[in-house]
């Protein structure tokens, strides 16, 4: 797995990132500087920085991997990520910039005069932020691991150290520069290799035609796959294999439970179950679940249908290509699943803690709108290309299905391009792009989390009178703490799909902050009690649903219940379609039951909506 070229790509990107971060340190002086770069960032650079921050590991690695795993249905993720900006643009970009708060907690307190509500919002920011760091950490782990040949945990640890260092050294102004640069790196790193891959493997039309020719995914050349002790392969067609040594296996009937689609790792088969077989060096893998009790290097012939790893549902090409394939179709409730996923991503974007804070770096509402539109265009330009990696992966590297390695397809596919030098160069480029992806998003998240911890918990509750230097120190300490927490949690999610983890962060944000922002900006009648209750109910309901799904991975009993009730399983795994309307209903219901908008609501709405050129605008929080 080690690739010196990819390692060099990683190191170059690391040095560049640290260099720009350190260079920018000279400009970072006060807390304001750290938080919003003193609002001096130009719109074009700002749009590039927002895109750079937004295009996370889920965009760079996760979408390609999930497309390879599940096919067409996954296109809803990138389209939703882009469409989320359109929703943000039309409902909140302009008004929220006029209001002039730094973060969602600022908005919650400023709009409703309620420090208690602020506390709730800070808590939810931390929940969403930590959920969103999980997939970035997973991406960091697999990228560093596949480049340097070190364990997953080492990859997570290295990344955490680097990113915390950058954040502590440069704050946000450094990050603006770093992230604008990283957008360019990511766009370059996804498009250049894809063009070379297309030149090498054929046009998109030719690729799809080649994929469609075989109903089972099969490698175009012989491949060797390592089976470790405890691995479980799902074999859909008996296939001849060559082993480097005889190996004991157990064979269980059928393929794994469908629960895989929710992204939770599947529980292993009960030990001792299944018929014990010893496979000779030239033998046939029987249909069913093959549980390896001894390790072996397994050689598959060209054109032999690949076995699927335990976390990868077997996919026939015809269903992989069509709507409602293994992802939505596998859920048992395809329409419900698709719509709930779409709604979560559309409405969740604006609730991500590291996204809104950047919009305040625009000088006025007009610039904020134009920035949001420009971001939509920039990320769209990126998302058109990523799914092609998944298509080429199914055609050229189906052995990744066997090792549950589809999340790494962007990193591993370029190595198959010959001549060797070209393949190495491309591998270095995608590794650098992946580093840019998780480093940019992680630093943005750490700043938001450190802002919430340092600005709110330290600056407002613990030491309200603390001066500038003390606050800067608190911000740095908070960044360190958040980085540590993210790294520890990151160690737990090696077996979860990157994009699925991201979908969960979106669902929680969509169920709490989206209704709060939309009603808070557009409705006179929203009361403090209504806003608080609705935000809490939506956020908590979505979090509980997702935690239940994660726990199902460890509980065969719960998994069995979910398989019997697919609609319930879908709603728990993708709760947004229920929890968003629930949050809206609670907000409206509570507000109507006990009317009485917060004091000064008219002044707040004037600040939100009256055009800047009339000169009424005052930043709500003057700091």
């Amino acid at each position: 797995m080690t690739s010196p070229a990819a390692l060099i790509g990683l190191l170059v990107m690391l040095v560049a990132t640290v260099a720009v971060g350190v260079f920018a340190r000279r400009f970072a002086r006060t807390t304001s500087d750290f938080l919003v770069a003193a609002r001096a960032v130009r719109p074009a650079a700002n749009a590039a920085a927002i895109s750079g921050e937004y295009l996370s590991a889920a965009s760079f690695l996760g979408i390609a991997g999930l497309v390879m795993k599940f096919g067409y249905d996954v296109l809803w993720y990138p389209v939703g990520y882009a469409a989320g900006y359109l929703v943000l643009l039309v409902f909140i970009a302009g008004p929220l910039r006029r209001f002039g708060a730094y973060t969602i907690p600022d908005f919650a307190e400023g709009r409703f005069n309620s420090p208690g509500f602020r506390r709730l919002a800070v808590g939810l920011v931390i929940v969403v932020g930590l959920f969103y760091t999980l997939p970035q950490m997973k991406a960091a782990g697999i990228t560093v691991a596949s480049a340097a040949g070190v364990p997953y945990a080492a990859g997570v640890a290295v990344t955490a150290v680097v990113v915390v260092t950058i954040v502590v050294a440069g704050g946000m102004r450094g990050v603006t520069l770093v992230q604008a640069m990283q957008f360019a790196v990511k766009l370059f790193a996804i498009t250049v290799p894809v063009f070379v891959l297309l030149l090498h493997f054929g046009t998109p039309g030719g690729l799809f035609a080649a994929v469609a020719r075989h109903e089972a995914a099969a490698p175009p050349r012989p491949v060797v796959v390592h089976a470790a002790v405890g691995d479980e392969w799902q074999v859909t067609q008996a296939v001849s294999v060559h082993l480097d040594r005889p190996a004991a296996v157990r064979v269980l009937a059928g393929t794994g439970p469908q629960a895989v689609y929710v992204g939770a790792p599947q529980a292993p088969s009960p030990s001792g179950a299944g018929a014990a077989v010893t496979l000779g060096t030239d033998d046939t893998l029987p249909v069913g679940r093959v549980h390896w009790d001894q390790a072996a290097d397994v050689r598959l012939a060209a054109g032999a249908p690949v076995p699927y790893g335990a976390q990868t549902p077997p996919s026939a090409t015809s269903s992989w290509l069509a709507p409602f394939g293994p992802l939505a179709g596998g859920s048992g409730q395809p329409l419900l699943f698709t719509y709930s996923l779409l709604v979560a991503i559309l409405c969740g974007t604006m609730g991500l803690p590291h996204i809104l804070v950047r919009f305040y770096t625009n000088p006025d509402a007009r610039a904020a709108r134009r920035t949001a539109w420009l971001v939509l265009a920039l990320v769209g330009l990126f998302y058109v290309w990523t799914p092609l990696y998944g298509v080429i992966g199914r055609l050229q590297a189906p052995e990744l299905y066997t090792g549950n390695l589809t999340d790494s397809v962007v990193l591993l596919l370029p190595r198959q391009v010959g001549p060797r030098l070209v393949g190495d160069l491309l591998a270095a480029i995608t590794a650098a792009g992946a580093f840019a992806a998780f480093a940019a998003t992680l630093s943005g998240l750490l700043i938001s989390l450190a802002g919430a911890l340092g600005h709110d918990i330290y600056g407002r509750w613990l030491r309200p009178g603390a001066g500038g230097p003390a606050r800067s120190r608190a911000f740095r300490a908070s960044a360190l703490m958040a980085g540590l927490a993210a790294a520890l949690l990151g160690l737990l999610v090696e077996n979860f799909d990157i994009s699925v983890l991201v979908g969960w962060a979106f669902a929680i944000a969509a169920s709490s902050f989206f209704p709060l922002l939309v009603l808070g900006i557009w409705w006179y009648g929203l009361t403090t009690a209504g806003a608080t209750t609705g935000t809490a109910v939506g956020g908590i309901a979505a979090t509980l649903a997702i935690v239940t799904t994660m726990l199902a991975a460890a509980s065969p009993g719960l998994t069995a219940v979910l398989i019997r009730h697919p609609a319930l399983a879908v709603v728990l795994a993708q709760p947004a379609i229920v929890t968003i309307p629930l949050a809206f209903a609670v907000m409206v219901g509570v507000s109507l039951a006990r009317p009485g908008p917060p004091a000064g609501v008219a002044a707040k709405l004037v600040q939100l909506h009256i055009p800047d050129r009339l000169g009424l605008r005052r930043d709500y929080i003057p700091e």
Binding site: A322, P323, Y339, L614
Partner: protein
């Protein structure tokens, strides 16, 4: 005798001081902007939301190929982006127009 409201810039003061007249102006502005936002959001939801329904009601949709590429992939994975960029541009233009018209009405 001119009333306060007819003094150039008077409406602006009404807004700033949140008088009932100011509230009417604010209401009108918010109403126009919200109507635009909801219209654009409805277009987005219709464009995206129609696709799963189409595939559900007409399974043959998934089998259509254009130059060997399945049509649903082209529609969702490629055409969506220029379409959303165009919808966004439409929104930005109209939202700025509403703001400008409102400003011109009130500016001294």
């Amino acid at each position: 005798m001119l009333t306060d409201r007819h003094v150039p810039g008077g409406e602006l003061r009404e807004l700033e001081e949140q008088t009932p007249v100011g509230a009417i102006f604010l209401d009108a502005l918010m109403h126009r902007q919200l109507a635009l936002s909801l219209r654009v959001a409805a277009i987005l939801v219709a464009v995206l939301g129609a696709q799963p329904l189409l595939a559900w009601l007409w399974p043959a949709y998934g089998a259509i190929r254009v130059f060997s590429i399945p049509l649903p992939w082209l529609v969702l994975g490629v055409a969506s982006y220029p379409l959303m960029i165009a919808i966004g541009l439409y929104y930005v233009r109209h939202a700025e127009t509403i703001d400008d018209e409102f400003s011109e009405l009130l500016e001294p």
